[in-house]
């Protein structure tokens, strides 16, 4: 599948934003002072910026962005529609939360919990857009929602930790959730890739043409000599040897180095700590973009079967 950069940006940035919201909510519920004072507006605001920028970017790949509001109507059948509805619903409690932080009013557990649940539900809906497609074997897997949710939470936790280090309130204990979440996310992704390597295609040229009962089918001539929409949009698959290398870089940059750096950042203080966390965030961004690029580029659509691929 063609990796569209607007979708890669949307899913990674919004995922990290919702993960950050969830971390903030968890710390707020646990009574952490930095998560309950006015300074919590910073992580809340950053999450809002990431999510909003992602949502805006996601409308960029539409043929008619001005009609995007129509996408809210078919939530009864469409995961894309549900994603939109949930994403907008999440703004409600998030704004109440921000307002209460600003007024230094008591926040209570309901508003942060509600925001986090709606945020994670949005991530789940995003993952289901892909996981519900039977036409793409690499997406039609239960691991896909797990991967999306874990990576959103883990990337949000790195951002949260970076903000705490920069604010000078981080301790070594804070690096524990980062390490745990990233370990889970990395293992999830690793299992996903192992599943991919063993996946038998659902449809073959034999079933696509129904000619398999007569003998071995191969493509003799395509209907067209040049590229077309189908090949450009759904015929893109990255070479296996490149994919293997890219997978390793993605895991290293997203799941292994950031939690190690987060630990380093939490135990060292001052500007080195800030620098370390800056590096962690940069590596995380690179790793996440690579991981999401691969998610598309490694996925083969069943239409390629008709082209003998």
């Amino acid at each position: 599948m063609n990796p569209a950069y607007s979708i890669i940006f949307f899913t990674t940035a919004a995922g990290a934003g919702y993960g950050l919201l969830t971390m903030l909510a968890l710390y707020a519920l646990a009574g952490d002072p930095a998560a309950n004072g006015r300074e919590a507006l910073l992580p809340l605001g950053l999450a809002g910026v990431l999510v909003s920028a992602g949502l805006l970017a996601s409308t960029l790949h539409l043929g008619h962005p001005e009609r995007a509001w129509r996408a809210l109507s078919q939530w009864r059948s469409s995961w894309l529609s549900r994603e939109g509805v949930l994403a907008i619903a999440c703004y409600g409690p998030a704004l109440v939360w921000a307002w209460r932080l600003w007024r230094e009013a008591p926040i209570g557990p309901v508003v942060p919990a509600f925001t986090a649940v709606l945020g994670l539900a949005t991530v789940y809906a995003t993952s289901q857009i892909y996981a519900s497609l039977k036409s793409v074997d690499a997406w039609h897997l239960r691991l896909v929602p797990a991967n999306y949710l874990l990576l959103a939470l883990a990337s949000g936790s790195v951002l949260w930790q970076a903000l705490r280090v920069w604010a000078g309130v981080a301790t070594a204990v804070d690096a524990l959730p980062v390490a745990t979440l990233m370990l889970a996310a990395g293992v999830g992704k690793w299992r996903y890739w192992r599943t991919l390597s063993r996946l038998a295609p659902t449809s073959t040229l034999a079933t696509a043409t129904g000619l398999g009962t007569l003998g071995t089918v191969s493509s003799l001539a395509w209907p067209h000599t040049e590229q077309n929409y189908l090949l450009k949009e759904m015929g893109f698959v990255v070479a296996r040897r490149h994919a293997d290398k890219l997978r390793r870089i993605a895991l290293l940059c997203a799941c292994i180095l950031p939690p190690l750096l987060a630990l380093g950042g939490s135990v060292s203080g001052g500007w080195p700590a800030s620098l370390i966390m800056g590096l962690a965030v940069a590596l995380l961004a690179l790793g996440l973009v690579l991981e999401r690029w691969l998610f598309f580029a490694e996925a083969r659509h069943s239409v390629s079967v008709f082209y003998g691929r």
Partner: protein, 241 residues
Amino acid sequence: MTMLPQTTAKKLGLVIDLDTCVGCHACATSCKQWNDAGHSAPLTDTDPYGAAPDGVWFNRVHSYEVQTAHGSKTVNFPKSCLHCDNAPCVTVCPTGASFKRVEDGIVLVDADKCIGCKLCSWACPYGAREYDATDGVMKKCTLCVDRIYNENLDAAARVPACVAACPTGARSFGDLGDPASGVSALVRARGGYDLMPEQGCAPVNQYLPPRAVTPLVQQPLSRHAGGIESALLRWIDRVLS
């Protein structure tokens, strides 16, 4: 409305005979011609006379080679939207632009509602939907909805353009939901089948398999064949050998 109807009054669709299709692409070009001015017009082409022509087509003809027990065989294979009963392209649509008609089962796109998110083209396992980047909306075979009910045409012409154009009669149009229809009888007689049944789309369009190949075996002239004609042939055979 992207919920699929429970049932449709009719199941209009095509039956495509892979035995008689000669791969002439007449259906594809006539489809392009009709629909360029039809319901989903235009079928935009980009760089049509340049180095990298590209454009929207609703019907494309592949050619396959099948290695059978009796040697290899070429099978031409036209592919357009199969107007599936369980169409995943419809249910994924976030806007309600994609829908399946209750009255005849035709799957259509409402170009005024489509936001061009392309998700439906991802959901269709057959690659039957093509995005028009110039219009910013998704397009697909309309089953020539603007011909089959068109009272400005002669009754005999109220069939899809591709059906009318096919020189070998490899394409038939009718109600596949009606067991008494001609197309249903054809499907029964010839063992019509679904493409990619494992995808669970329950396509309405049916494909008829190539007829069994009768291997050509050279028959030796029989000594005992009767009649003056064979006596003559035997005599010529003797003289020549």
